[in-house]
Symmetry: C2
Subunit: 257 residues, 2 copies
């Protein structure tokens, strides 16, 4: 992904590199699966294969956490699960609010992976007064007016933005002002936040465009190696052929129903 890397000179998070942090959840998932199968220990080789990474990388990653392995044997699964959970801050409960209960917001609210790993959906918030009180995933939607009080009363520090792009920055500002210091942004916009606030971005459209790039290259490679699409059309091309949806730039992660 894609991070808003809004502050902090990357590394020096107590020594743990950012790239390593991003892989810890991956290891944790693989370890949890092993734990369920009651596997007592794993070698770096096995675990690396399960997580889809290089074993040397995995060992180096773990070395940042400390020496939790036993040479000649491997890593104790349960112990490692606990250590990584603790390192990631998953031993405590993180109340989370989701703002923008459209299709995506609702999907997120129903997402099982949230609750099962230290995250608790404290509230669902939407600007549409018609949504207020309507339960989604068993939680009644609340109106944006109550955003500040919800944040403060529940001690929420993590917010998820699933609003249309146009509303994202405003929602973000209110979240931050109310005390939120970490934001997961699904709206297709660049959010600007003060120092000390972390933003991570998930953008479906961007992911697809990256795939399209590689796809095009593959196609152009195997077919005409000389590439026939190099014709330099001046401009005017790529006119937004008025689809039902407005110009993409302002389209929400998903339209509020």
């Amino acid at each position: 992904m894609a991070t808003g890397r809004t502050h902090r000179p990357a590394t020096r998070s107590r020594g743990i590199p950012e790239a390593t942090v991003a892989r810890l959840p991956l290891y944790l998932r693989a370890l949890t699966a092993l734990s369920e199968r009651s596997v007592p220990t794993v070698s770096s080789e096995e675990l690396a294969a399960a997580a889809g990474v290089n074993s040397a990388k995995l060992r180096k990653d773990f070395s940042y956490l400390g020496s939790y392995g036993t040479r000649g044997v491997g890593y104790d699964v349960e112990y490692l699960v606990y250590q990584i959970s603790r390192e990631l801050g998953l031993t405590q409960d993180w109340p989370v609010v989701i703002v923008g209960i459209g299709n995506l917001g609702a999907a997120l609210a129903n997402y099982g992976g949230f609750a099962s790993r230290g995250f608790r959906v404290a509230a669902l918030i939407d600007a549409d007064p018609g949504m207020a009180g309507k339960p989604v995933a068993g939680i009644p939607v609340q109106h944006t007016d109550e955003l500040e009080s919800i944040i403060r009363d529940n001690g929420v520090s993590i917010g998820v933005i699933a609003t249309p792009a146009g509303a994202a920055q405003q929602v973000c500002d209110r979240l931050v002002a109310a005390g939120v210091t970490s934001i997961l942004n699904f709206a297709p916009t660049v959010l600007s936040v003060p120092d000390g606030v972390d933003v991570r971005k998930v953008d479906l459209s961007i992911e697809l465009q990256i795939l399209a790039f590689h796809e095009q290259r593959k196609a152009g490679e195997e077919a005409t190696t000389g590439v026939a699409a190099e014709t330099a059309v001046p401009a005017a091309a790529r006119e937004e052929s008025g689809t039902d949806q407005g110009p993409d730039g302002d389209v929400p992660a998903v339209m509020p129903a």
Copy 2:
């Protein structure tokens, strides 16, 4: 974000670095917004600010595409929009199939950003026979049995997996066997694919965990600098306190309704 970087030694994609490719969609979005406001030209400084990146980085990125700017003036917005679109392969239409029409799959089907930028949802596929024929986002859901014929008949090369984790690899295998060479995976699993197939992964749970890590560090920093949470609890902790949902590891990106 997170890529399956399954093949290819990264760079050398005709010279364009992977990191640059990942930013092109960002620039494109900012440029499209400018285009709509009929702004004729932008400087690297302005555009960089709009896209949330460093201006030197942006200029270097564009330099990989060619010399499309005019010194002393900046970049022609329309021309650049076209060039980037072409580079990303967005001037052609990419038929896409979405497999797994649960909450998330439905949200994706309704996502406006797909259709508006060269991507067309060719079909929605789900394993539940009860879903067959039921329209989602105006498109009737089809049964998994027809997966192969759909792919072939529509010439689909990009597939989106939004199934539970347990089904993801199997779906992936079938997609690849049928001719799909790019996959966007929302299921929390590591997919293994043959060389030549690109996989990109979007994992909501992982993003939140990364945020939690930084959040914890912030909290531990400002409060007790000596960190009081360093108490080394042996193990046994972090018992999956049987939530309604099963163990997260196998939870789908979102449960099929």
